[in-house]
């Protein structure tokens, strides 16, 4: 079996003991096909049971295992060792408070997600007996990409505006999800989401750094979604300014 040994430098922080985070290095024997998450699990199982990190699916779909790996926000289960050198540095995601080790506090995101009303707001409730809404493949395609978000928060970690505004910016994933519902042919809730989207902390705080889309493991392209939302939002603003439409 082809074994390889790596040095895994992990940022540790145990609030009950440590004043501030520090790096701890573990020597890990690895299999060729491992991902960084496998190496972390090796540490947890065989070396140090006090290391804490989140993970579950191991197939890049649950969004639990976002860490900063060699300076880049990544999913631990999608960071293949073959793409890294023998010294790998794993840190918690930027822009979030560290609860402990690699575990960050994400309350802020969860609140923001809720604030954009990420659910269908229909014109009128359709009876179940009346069957499904008709939605053509083209209409589905219009929003599909933005529905792929796994809430892994790599984009928040990569977005400097989220940090610069002290986390006031609604941020890429929540805005992309708002846009997802706005673009859904079954939804009429755009005006209900507008006060959040069009607020200063909404789309306008984004300066199109584009980092969010680069790091997104699901090709959601929140940067694109936000620019599109800026456009519709600006049109809304202008039309309501001159007194047609809007509210």
């Amino acid at each position: 079996m082809s074994k390889r040994t790596i040095q895994l430098e992990v940022l540790r922080y145990r609030p009950e003991q440590d004043k501030e985070p520090f790096f701890q290095t573990y020597t890990v024997p690895c299999e060729e096909e491992w991902v960084v998450l496998d190496a972390l699990n090796y540490v947890k199982d065989e070396i140090d049971r006090t290391l804490s990190f989140r993970w579950s699916c191991h197939m890049f779909v649950c969004g639990s295992c976002g860490y900063k790996i060699d300076g880049e926000p990544k999913l631990g289960c999608k960071a293949f060792l073959r793409d890294y050198g023998d010294n790998i540095r794993v840190e918690p995601l930027d822009n979030f408070p560290i609860e402990r080790d690699l575990v960050v506090v994400i309350d802020d995101f969860v609140e923001k997600l809720q604030s954009v009303k990420p659910y269908i707001i229909a014109k009128e409730e359709k009876a179940l007996a009346a069957g499904e809404y008709i939605q053509t493949p083209a209409q589905l395609k219009a929003f599909k990409q933005y529905s792929m978000c796994i809430n892994c928060l790599l984009c928040y970690s990569a977005c400097p505006q989220y940090g610069l505004t002290n986390q006031e910016f609604i941020g890429p994933a929540a805005l992309a999800l708002a846009h997802r519902y706005n673009m859904d042919s079954r939804d009429v809730g755009r005006s209900a989401r507008e006060h959040v989207l069009a607020a200063h902390e909404g789309v306008w705080e984004c300066s199109f750094v584009g980092a969010c889309s680069v790091v997104c493991p699901k090709d959601v392209d929140p940067a694109g979604a936000i620019q599109q939302a800026k456009f519709t939002s600006a049109v809304d603003y202008l039309t309501s300014m001159v007194g047609i439409g809007g509210k």
Partner: protein, 587 residues
Amino acid sequence: MQVIDADIVIVGAGGAGLRAAIAVAEADPSLHIALLSKVYPMRSHTCAAEGGAAGVVKANDSLEYHFNDTVSGGDWLTDQDAVDLFVNEITKELIQMEHWGCPWSREGSGHVAVRPFGGMKIMRTWYAADKTGFHMLHTLFQTSLKYPSIKRFDEYYTSDLIVDDGACHGCTAIEMRTGEMKLFRGKSVIVCTGGAGRIFPFTTNGAIKTGDGMAMAYRAGVPLKDMEFVQYHPTGLPGSGILLTEGCRGEGGYLLNKDNYRYLQDYDLGPATPTPVLKSMELGPRDRLSQAFWQESKKGNTVQGKWGDIVWLDMRHLGEKLINERLPLVRDLSISYVAADPVTDLVPVRPVVHYMMGGIHTDINAATPIAGLYSAGECACVSINGANRLGSNSLGELLVFGARAGRFAVEHAKTVKAPRDALVTAQAADAEGRIKALFKRSGGKQRVSQLKREMNLSLEEGCGIYRDEKSLRDTVAVIADVRARYRDVTLEDKSSVYNTDLYQTLELGAMIECAETVVHSALLRTESRGAHQRLDHVERDDVNFLKHSMAYYNPNGDPRIDYHEVVITKSQPAARVYGAAAGGQAA
């Protein structure tokens, strides 16, 4: 200890738990719901489901067909009243999901599209590309944000149910970020904690699927039903155990042995038509396909790989366009994890533990024998899956029975007077005491990871696709040994903030309890049925075993196994027929 009062306490916020919560919120907005989950809801393992959810919707289909497929697929161990109800309600639930925004894949006309699935006679599986579970979970989670009465307790590890005088009054849970234990009091409690695939070493199940809820209910006195029926999915990626959905075969993929031969035709599943025919060949049921693999491997027809024997999944003839459109995740996963691009390469696969047919015993109202305690989703056993679940029935199950659990929990809550406070508090203190004792324990030499590995391997070896008396007895012995040594495990991490050492230790406890019920039930079932195949008892035995195994907790020793009648209404047990004789539709 902080006490949190709610009307309905729901443990688990995967597909089933979220559906239950919404059902409660809609049935009576004045009820307070406490929704607990050890992970953020969108991390729940429902997100991993790829293929789809079955529901009769097309004109060429009928409820009767869905009923028959499900009952025969489950080798007649299904409760037919439950299946009847299930096939009747599922389509409405899937439409409800559509109204809530689930991005189902569509036909050109704008109606939802369906795809073929294993063991189903007619195409009836609704899908959202190959991320159905993901979209369902996020749709449910995001929709749940609409209801102010749903109060979430994310990252709360539930440790015990509070049961007194035959009724359930709540649970205790540890807030993972503080390590503090809280008592949740409720009039009804719904357990939706998902499966326990992690008791096996090679599984499609995520880290959280450790059978916590099953163990909790079991310790509280509810029997675990049909636990010996463990589903192996025929196409897992070697090494990681990552699933390649049945959709791969539904779309027309072949399974080939080392001679590039579609070996399933040798196992009563033929003829090997080039395009898929339902209920034949690659679209046979999972138990039969996984068993065929085992036989091939015994014959030396599989390929030796680094991670064990494999066969090939051939999708090359489907073409890049179809693969990108319908199976994008499959392509992504195959390239990333085994460096095989399905468009141009054969993809190595092997059977992998996937689903627990068994679980917490409930009736068709999702009620357990304990008053006020309900259960739905993979942790429950209603049972619509019998001895073998058909792919795409469990996403449906969690909707239908999740919603029912919610509604019946509401009904029950209306009848409840306040629980006997003192007893409830005393039980909670007990639960807390056990955790505290775990922290105090020291000097033990047992490591959680080591015990888990031993348990895992012995289950795979002795209680896998094929079992016999000897292998099962060996496994029973190993599990007993592991259980004894588990009492000696000490925590290496004594801190309170996000102490994952603690949670993994508690999870191992739950897994040992589940594993015990699996092997003991398997040992006593001396017949072969569905996913339970005994080399020493190869025939199905309807005379003695057309009944559910019921494993009861026994604090001082092995579980007590009893039996429970199977409900048979209109379909008498018959031979399970697949291949040419099954009359499946061309897919």
